[in-house]
């Protein structure tokens, strides 16, 4: 009887771990694209984005017990990703590499993804020019403005979710977003 109880105690945590691992794999499958995208657009460095995406999920896996479900899993993961971006930016040793990578990452190609058969050639060219302009402005924004801009317009998070991810107040998020949009508008109008 006692032996059976011991065996049961040994098996139960294993089963629990496996079940959580299975759920976690599904979580990775579901959220990795957006996490990687946010990291790539923030860092403009594919290798760093891949490394940090893995690190993000590793950290999430280690801290999964502390996740109480108060917020969405996507918000929780994005919060971890943002912290990684901040750490990466602070790391002075990587500063040189970041600049080098950014220069050689071929981001000019970004405008190619705008191609739409339904559009006229003229409209497609205009859209490509606009994308280039937005991309160029995004590179000049402050880290906070860029983060808020990407979360709002690329990841489709609402203001409250962005506030949760960044730890800012909703009003602050709004202010950063306004500045980012203003910078883009000025660039598009040739005001800057």
């Amino acid at each position: 009887m006692a032996q059976a109880a011991d065996t049961e105690l040994d098996v139960m945590p294993q089963q629990r771990e496996l079940a959580e691992l299975e759920d976690f794999t599904a979580l990775v499958v579901r959220h990795r694209p957006s996490i990687f995208r946010f990291l790539l657009l923030s860092l403009r460095d594919r290798d760093a984005a891949e490394t940090l995406a893995q690190e993000c999920f590793l950290r999430a896996y280690k801290a999964r017990d502390s996740f109480r479900g108060d917020s969405k899993a996507s918000t929780w993961l994005m919060h971890i990703a943002l912290n990684l971006v901040r750490d990466h930016m602070r790391n002075r040793r990587l500063q040189f590499w970041r600049n080098t990578q950014a220069a050689s990452a071929g981001f000019e190609d970004l405008s190619e993804y705008v191609a739409d058969r339904r559009r006229s050639q003229e409209a497609a060219l205009l859209a490509q020019e606009q994308v280039k302009a937005v991309w160029a402005v995004a590179g000049t924004l402050s880290a906070k403005q860029r983060t808020v801009f990407l979360l709002r317009f690329v990841e489709d998070l609402d203001l409250l979710e962005i506030a949760e991810v960044t730890g800012m107040k909703e009003g602050t998020v709004k202010a950063h977003l306004f500045r980012a949009v203003e910078a883009i508008r000025k660039r598009l109008k040739g005001e800057s």
Partner: protein, 167 residues
């Protein structure tokens, strides 16, 4: 006609919901509407391009591994669903068989009970010397027989002497 929206207000409209006045103006002013559409269109195009670009740059190996993992999960889920279906089917079959068997057993028990009751009734009937319906006849026969014997005895009192004489 209200004056055009300031450029800052147009930017504000992209950040959050605009006030009633601004929205009303946008509905009636094609110039302001076009300006807002241009700005939001540029940002939307950027978002679309960024998503496509990111997807292309995402490591194929990672995607492949994740797809395989997803497939593994799907096959596990399919196996689990199949197993559950089989278990439920077996359970239903077992329950059906058991139910039928139990019904048969109950019918048999009822039949044997009625048979027993019938047998007991027959035994009771047979064990009687005569059927109840014949009782009056039996009584009448036994009464007439006893009266005939008495009459015989009275009418032939020398029957014993005759026998003695013949001897």
């Amino acid at each position: 006609m209200t004056p055009h929206l300031s450029r800052e207000r147009i930017s504000e409209l992209l950040v959050g919901p605009g006030d009633h006045e601004a929205m009303e103006h946008l509905g009636s002013c094609p110039e302001c509407g076009a300006e807002l559409a241009e700005l939001s269109g540029a940002i939307s195009s950027f978002a679309v391009a960024a998503r496509g670009w990111s997807q292309r740059h995402d490591s194929r190996e990672v995607q492949l591994t994740l797809m395989m993992e997803r497939g593994k999960h799907r096959s596990r889920a399919a196996k689990l669903a199949w197993g559950l279906t089989m278990a439920v089917t077996l359970l239903l079959l077992f329950w059906g068989t058991f139910h039928t068997w139990q019904g048969r057993r109950q019918t048999e028990a009822l039949n044997s009970e009625s048979d027993d009751a019938l047998m007991r009734q027959i035994d009771a009937e047979v064990s009687r010397r005569a059927p109840a319906a014949m009782d009056p006849l039996v009584r009448a026969i036994s009464a007439s027989a006893s009266s005939a014997a008495t009459q015989n005895a009275n009418t032939n009192p020398n029957s014993q002497d005759h026998g003695e004489e013949k001897q």
